[in-house]
Every structure is written in C-alpha cells, then in structure tokens.
Assembly symmetry: C2
Homo-oligomer: 503 residues x 2
Amino acid sequence: MKKNTLILVIAILGISFMTYMMLSIGERKQEQAILNTAPIIKAEGIETRSDKWADAYPHQYDTWKQTAESNEIEDMVKKYPQLAILWAGYGFSKDYNAPRGHANALISNRSTLRTGAPTGPNDGPMPMACWACKSPDVPRLMQEHGELEYFTGKWARAGDEIVNPIGCGDCHSSQDAQLTITRPYLKRGLDAIGMTEDKITYQDMRSLACAQCHSEYYFKKTPYTDKDGKDQIAAVVTFPWAKGLAAEDMEEYYNEIEFKDWTNKMSKAPMLKAQHPGYEIFTTGVHFKRGLACADCHMPYTQKGAIKFSSHKIQKPLNDIANTCLTCHKQSEKEFKDIVQEKLDRKDQLNVIAMDNLAAAHLTAKKAWEVGATDAEMAPVLATIRSAQWLWDYSIASHGSFFHAPGETLRLLGVAGSKAQEARITLAGILANYGVINYQIPDISTKELAQQVAGVPFEKLVKAKLDFKKGLMQEWITDAKEDGRLTSTFVEDLPVKSAYPQN
Amino acid sequence: MKKNTLILVIAILGISFMTYMMLSIGERKQEQAILNTAPIIKAEGIETRSDKWADAYPHQYDTWKQTAESNEIEDMVKKYPQLAILWAGYGFSKDYNAPRGHANALISNRSTLRTGAPTGPNDGPMPMACWACKSPDVPRLMQEHGELEYFTGKWARAGDEIVNPIGCGDCHSSQDAQLTITRPYLKRGLDAIGMTEDKITYQDMRSLACAQCHSEYYFKKTPYTDKDGKDQIAAVVTFPWAKGLAAEDMEEYYNEIEFKDWTNKMSKAPMLKAQHPGYEIFTTGVHFKRGLACADCHMPYTQKGAIKFSSHKIQKPLNDIANTCLTCHKQSEKEFKDIVQEKLDRKDQLNVIAMDNLAAAHLTAKKAWEVGATDAEMAPVLATIRSAQWLWDYSIASHGSFFHAPGETLRLLGVAGSKAQEARITLAGILANYGVINYQIPDISTKELAQQVAGVPFEKLVKAKLDFKKGLMQEWITDAKEDGRLTSTFVEDLPVKSAYPQN
C-alpha cells in the first residue's frame, strides 16, 4: 500500500469515529434535554404502568426492572421457627419470607399464604389495606373513588385492579415526574409530627417517598356513609406517630387507644404487629442525623455516558459497597464488610435471645391458662409480653434496621429480651401456685413442629392457595390485560416462587 | 509633640516589640531543641518523681499536674446500690468510686475502704499487686528487687516506697524519654497474642503505654524460692489474653484454669471481677479498627507558641471535644454531644437492667441455699450467674467502654442481663421445689440498705481507715520524704476526698 493511501485510510477512520462520537454525544444530550423538560407521562391522574414511563426514563426503567433479580425466597419461619409461636393466630405464622425487590411486590403479596385463598370479590381473609404498599394502582383507585371507599371491603375486591407492582407512579407525579407523596396517610402522619408540607425539602422527599410504605401503621376502623347512603366501615392505614417515632412513643400511642392487631393464640396476649418501621428507626440513627436520605445509599447516582441518573435498582447498599458506603467510609471493601459482619453478628445474637424468650413466654402462658390461672393473675404478664414483642418487632421488622440504627436496634433487642424473661419469671410463680414446677415448653425446633404447636394448618392453606392461584388470580390478570391496566409482559412473566411447594 | 519625635517613638516601640518577639521565638526554639535532644533524666533505672522531669518537659509536666483537677468523688455504690450485692464478700462492695485523674491515683488507693487499715508491713487485707497500676515506684521496685519479689507480701509492705502517683516514669524511659513498657506482665500478655516486640509500632505504643494498666488481669499464684532460699508465693499480675481479648475469650481462659476472684457472699457463686479491660474492649471498637491510639483522643496535640506537644492532661475527650472528637467528626459540638448522650442513655438502660437482675439472682440464690437447695441443684445456676456478671463487668468496668465500643458494650450488657434472668428462672423452679413461690428479694434501694444486706460493716471500716490514715499512712509519707523518694509538695498537697466522712 502506498504511503498516501495509508494516510487517507487512517484519516477516514479517524473522521468516521469522531463523527460517531459527535452523534452519540448529541443523542445523549438530546436524552438529557428530554429529561430536563420533565415530560408529561399522563395529563391527569396516575400512570400506573411503569412500562409507559420507559420512553422518557429508559435508564430509570431499566434499573427498576433489575429489582426483579432480588427474587430468592428466604423462609424466615424455617430459619427461626420461634416466629410461628410469636405470631400464633396471626397471618405471619403461616408464611413469612425475607423481603424481595420492588418488581416482585405484587406476586409476593398474591402468593403468600397470609393473603389466603379468596374465591370471590367479597372473600377474605385480608382487607383492602393489604394492597396499600404494593402498587401504584392503589393511589390511582384512591383518586378515582375516594380514600375511605378504597379502604372498604376485602382484599379480593380489587384483585383485578391492582396489577402493577411498586413502580414509577408510586413516588413520581405523572404530570411532571417530580417526587410526590401519593399516600394520604403519610401526609397525615407528617402533620401529626408537625412536618407540614411547607417544611419539606427535596432531600426530605428523597426519604419520604420511601416512608410512604417503609413505615409502621395500623388499620384504623373508620365509619362513614358511602355515596349510596349506606353505612360502611373502612380499615384505614394510619401511622401511629402522634407521640413520636421511637418504639416507646408508638407503644404509648397504641396502649392509649387500647389497640391490638390480634390475640396471640398461645398466650392470649393482646398483641401488636410491627409492620416495617424502616423510616422511623432510620430517624434514630446517625445516618439520618447527619442529613442522609434513603436514596443516598439505596439509589446511588450512576453515570451512563453523558447521563447521570439515580439508580432505581433499589437494594441493600451492601450489594454495591463501592458506589454507596465507601463514598463516605474511606476504607477497603474487605475492612468495611468485616465491620458490618461483626455488627450483624451482635444483632443476631440478641435477636435470637429475644425470640427464644418470647416464644417461651407465650407457651408458658398457655400452660398457665391450662392449669387454671385467672385473668387477674395473667393480665400483667400478658401486658409485659405484648410490650416485649412490640419492642422486638419494631427493632427488626423493618428491612435492614440494624444498618439504619445499630445502637437503637441492640437497645431494643436487649430490653425486649429482658421483658420477655421478666414475664417468664412471673409465670414461673403463677405455675408453681398451680403445682407446676420447671415447666418445659414443647419442641419447636423446626418450622413444622412450631407451626403444629401454633395450630397452623399448613397443608390445607397451601392447597387452597394453589387453587386460588389457578383460578381467581388468573381471572384477575386476564381482566386487567383485557382492560389495558396491565400492559407489560415483563411484569406478567416474573417468576413465581414461594416457601411452599408450587404443586 | 513634633512630628519627627512621634515617628521616632513609634519606631522605637516597633523595634522593641520585634526584638521581644525574636527573643521569644529564640527561647521557644531553644526549648524545642532541648526536647529534640531527648535529655537523660536519670542515667540508670527509673526516675519516679515526676517533678524531676519538669525542667526538660515543662508543658507535659504542667498538663500532667492538671490531671489532679479530676478529683471529685462519684460514689458508684450510692448511685447503684445493687453493686454492693453483686460484689458481696469482695472489696468493691465496701467502696467504689468513679475514676479520677492520674495524679490522684495513689491517694485514691490509700484512701479507699477496699485497701483496708493495715497497722504494720505484714498486715492486709490486700496484696502487693494492688499497687501495680498506681505508681512508677512499682516498676522501680521490680527492677531493684525482681518481679516475683515485688509481688510477694501484703500491700502495706511497700507503703513507704510507693509514693509517687502515676507519672512520667510509668510510660517513658528515664534514659531517653521514649515510650516504654515498664510492666513485664504486659509484655507477657502481648507475647501470648503473638504481638512480639519487633511487631510493635510507634502508634501501637501510644496505646500500649496505657494498656499496661487499663487492662484486665488476675493475680496468679506463683511459687518461687527467694534469695534467702525460702519458699514464697507471689501473687503476680497476669493478663488472661491467651485465648483472645474478647469477653468470651477471657471467660474461657478463666474457666479452663478454674479461677475465681472470690465467692459471692450471697449466692456463693465462684466469681470473676473484671478490673478495667479498657484496652481489650477498645480493640473491639471502630476507633481501634481505623488505626486510632488511646493518645489520639486522650492526649491531643497542643500548641504553645512554637512548641507542639501531646497534652498530658489525660482525661475523657468529651471535656475537650473541639480538639479531640471534632477533628474527625465534622459536626457542631451541640450535635455531637446530643448523639453521645443518646448513646450513653442506651448503655445506662441496659446496664441497670443487667445489674438489677444480677442482684436479684444473687439474693434469690441465697434464699435457695437457706431453704435447703443442694450443691447439685445450685451448681449450674451459679455458673450462669458467674458468666452473666463477668460479661456485665467486662462491658462496663473499664473507663468509658461505651465510647470505645458502643456495639460490643450493648451486646454484652444484653447477654449479661439475659443470663442473669435465665438464672432467676431456674432459681424460681428450685425455690418452688422447696415450697417458696414468688420470692421477693429484700429492699436494696439505698447504699446503706444494700451494704447491710451484703454484710458490709461500713462504720467499723471507716473508723479503722481513719486511724490508718492518721497513723501508718503518715509514717509512710514522712519516711519517703526523709529518704528523698517523695520530693514534690504538689503531690503531698493533693486534697484527700472520699465517699465516707473524713472524721
């Protein structure tokens, strides 16, 4: 090849590459420009189908889809069979798994044994409130029909309406894509602690979008008259924040209104179930106090070419230490992980102590009832058990509480365990008065044994569930697809997994 | 005044000021130069009199003297009367105060009821080992007579020899002023964990100088033949580090050699007393893991003109937050203090729970013995109480453990409280078998009541102590002054305070 030809070829290659790069940069700039114009996804109301946001927000949508990867089932009742006793008589004793990614929220909700096997729209066992955190279809229905109307009736009533898992429309306005609070109950909770709308900053919103669901709540029975003039009772999700966000504050709130979630089937104690007070315990920790928001660690900024965006693969920061923790904690990944592991081990140790003692307390109380203990004898013990279990549940029910507030978690686990043992000491006295000394609780060392003791009809529940999944649940999805409420094959094709056999 | 005169005056003033400044800078430079030459304080052995170091190290000496300011008595048995029960039959039930500054170490040691009221050199109750941490005269005597010889005999044997409180000679070589380990038992402890001399860095030394005393130890009975051919038994300070520095490691060490410090007078449990495992618990915390040494926070660098030196006013960093904590923790003093207070509150809560349950366990065990419980019944309970109290004591006996390792402290307090309650549950069963149900422990809500229950003859102890202070103790000081072992009026004039009345 002649020298000149070579130079020409190189020049052409160079020009081609530069042209490609310019075009590419131009494209990126265009993309960024689109983002900056805050495109309207839907003129009014809430666009619940995340796939409809994908054109305007491709990177956010792609990373959101990746939340589906977190789909392994970690059967917590198998890991800690004591749980079946702690929650005896309540749904969680049937089935309770570690949390999975946002995209899996709805299939988890439909699939868990806790939501039962309804056969029609008026069938239970759960109320409408049980969808509240699972889908942007929830605030859509509230806007369309009213909040009280939404919270009326059984879970199965809206199975064909609530079909898109936690997605864009849960946290972003469909009109301008800004962060927004779609759940009215969070607004009321914030009002109760004096955090009115005018005080809320953008950084606050980067936590409050999450706090809509990652919070403690109860279903407040609320009578009203519907549009047909009929008396109804709504079970309205309500945040028990009026006295503060600490475990003891909420306990005082619940005690004052004499609220109980259920009665433990073993001890007959009037129990509280902590949902997932993640936001609340986060506010007791040092990350919050230093001004961090949930999104800082769970949705780190990510660069793709010219585009900088917040990752919507919401997950535990430990999966991506280099881009989360280590941006502040200047140490090696190994050093960091070792310290975290040590902290986790401490939590696990106190957690097991608390659970063991709570289970023993419930079962010993059961024995006390059996041998003739009176209400007067049992009342103070049951109050202690209730308090112990609440503090325990608050401290670990929210996802990752230990990272959010390690000191507060250890304190609460310590106090919870101590109260459970205090109950056991009193029960030893009561039992002795009825001639029972050194009572040994039954063997609850496996999930099967513990569920048997707790009276969970596991196989029956599974059979009914499988029937529901083949029947009514399929109808819901078919209806939703036909009516255009569900348009994404991605959502439809998510794999179904469970802690029980699928056939 | 004429204009020229004014200019002249200003010029003269200016020149005078500059001359003064230059002289002053020269003086400082000279001082720094002296420091840099590492002057020999004493050609051989240990210069125990800190005032003899003052000429070469005036700033260090001045700040060391300021440790005397920390001299208030905080009566811990008054604050937590439970302690009298936890330590029943042991010195600490008589008198136990919060720590004071280094300069007060010796007067505290002589003044506490724990060291009793000896009337002559062969009198008890304590052994020579009880001086071990209190004075540079200790390593001096070891060098002069041998370590085993030092650890032989009663505390009163060397009252006239050990007269200089913790000072320069405890941590610095008198020959070159470098940091040095004067206590052979630390060297043996470090050997046991594989930290041989060649591996020790300067930064390590800035903690190990402190670890000589701020560590856990026991008195190991060691037979030997003295220079006169006589059989002797030394009670040698020994660090139980061979299995590691964590609470459970040391517990295993002690259990393996079936060691006990004493038998609790209430429960008859074979007890361990944690001394002050400050270094050990520090190694479980994040400050240590990030490479900090004790001196970084307790002896911050200070500037006086051209001289930069490490403050020897060793104290809690919270007294000087701006120059200690806040050099790394970038926040306001108010924010920082609030977070610390919250952490302290958590520790206090779990601490009180653990102490209350330990006291109840000891007293309930006492009752069980009284009603006829057998050794076989009691042995496992007593082992549990021993373990519980050890974990509790390890977690809080060292000064400021909670700042050194907040997570580990909470974990240990949680486990300790739980074990104490476990013992109480078992004891409830044992008592019921002997017909005692719902046993209520006696009132121990004040120091007086608790000491009465624990059988502490407080007034008798005080009377004897005051006699000792007027008698033998004065002789010691007179002798030491006459022989030149004590030369500082500063040391002599330190105010004597105590938790008991001084007359």
